[in-house]
């Protein structure tokens, strides 16, 4: 596809476009806020980007929800132009339903579930053993 961006952008040798998180410079300690951004791979994380495609607030708000905004039209455009996505962005989009669910999300949830079952069975066994000891 013809690169539809303006011709004033710097030419990077072997560079490609990524959709990734960039810290929005709010300059407050322990309060991060990310912008979902399409930028060249070689650029600094918080440096000049091509276009902002949304935002992500990692800390939950009063109603215990983490707010995310996404501009699907422009994401489609950039992905069609050949942009890569970083892992966290891919996971987020998978959870949103725009992309398929990332395999690691599924495996993480399975692991979490296995651990939860282990603890439940562990406590049950512990309780049963405690009862046996009490009987004996």
């Amino acid at each position: 596809m013809v690169h539809l961006s303006s011709l004033l952008l710097k030419k990077y040798h072997g560079g490609y476009v990524v959709i990734r998180f960039a810290l929005a410079g709010h300059k407050q300690a322990n309060r991060p806020f990310y912008r979902i951004v399409a930028a060249y791979n070689k650029r600094a994380r918080d440096g000049k980007y091509l276009e902002q495609l949304g935002s992500y607030d990692p800390l939950p708000n009063i109603n215990n929800e983490k707010l995310v905004s996404l501009n699907f039209d422009r994401i489609k455009y950039w992905v069609g132009c050949g942009a890569h996505t970083t892992k966290p962005v891919a996971k987020l989009l998978g959870l949103a339903g725009f992309f398929p669910l990332h395999p690691m999300t599924i495996t993480e949830s399975e692991r979490h579930r296995a651990r939860a079952e282990l603890t439940v069975t562990g406590t049950e066994d512990g309780l049963r053993e405690g009862q046996k000891d009490a009987e004996v």
Partner: protein
């Protein structure tokens, strides 16, 4: 700690400006292989994190599917973009828009033409008037010049007449003797004074 850059380096941060001929960079990790190990890490053996083979097989399967779907999605998006582009350039709406723009252009060009015509008429009138005024002025100038010349001629004629009249009293070769005799016969006395009021006074001292 510091390494000399030969050809390529992946994660380099140029700390100092390269004053020497050799470029020096700071690479990840504070210590080099010759520095001694820290006391807390003396007997440490680094072991990679354990991998569950069953989970790994399932994960590889899932990754394969995921990448296939991602590839398909990318191509789909590309196609959608191209189609949108095509629609914009050569769709039904585009034709209507082009037609409307052509209409507007034509209307504006007509208006411009009208304006030009109007301005042309005004300009022609104005130029004509100016030309007439210039002609009038020229005529006036010519008339004035002629008048001046005539006045000069009149003055010159007056002078000539005056000269002619004076010429009667000139002394010529024929009048010479007669005039001399006349002058000798009538001695003129110019010794007189004149008062402020204009009274001529011939005698000053009472004799």
């Amino acid at each position: 700690m510091f390494q000399v850059i030969g050809g390529r380096s992946v994660q380099a941060a140029r700390v100092f400006a390269p004053r020497s001929a050799v470029l020096v960079e700071a690479v990840r990790g504070r210590k080099s292989r010759t520095d001694p190990v820290a006391k807390s890490k003396v007997g440490r053996i680094k072991v990679p994190s354990p991998v569950d083979p069953v989970e790994m097989v399932v994960l590889k399967e899932r990754y394969g599917e995921y990448q296939m779907i991602m590839r398909a999605l990318r191509l789909e998006f590309k196609e959608e973009m191209l189609r949108k582009r095509y629609e914009e350039d050569t769709g039904s709406l585009a034709e209507e828009r082009a037609r409307q723009e052509a209409e507007e252009h034509r209307i504006l060009m007509d208006f411009n033409h009208q304006e030009n015509q109007r301005m042309l008429k005004l300009r022609v009138l104005r130029v004509q008037q100016e030309k007439e005024e210039a002609d009038c002025k020229k005529l006036e100038v010519i008339l004035q010049r002629e008048q001046e010349q005539q006045e000069i001629v009149k003055e010159k004629e007056k002078e000539i007449l005056k000269l002619q009249e004076d010429a009667k009293n000139f002394i010529t070769m024929e009048n010479l003797d007669q005039r001399i005799e006349e002058a000798l016969d009538n001695p003129k006395n110019y010794n007189f004074a004149i008062d402020k009021q204009g009274k001529v006074v011939k005698q000053t001292v009472l004799q």
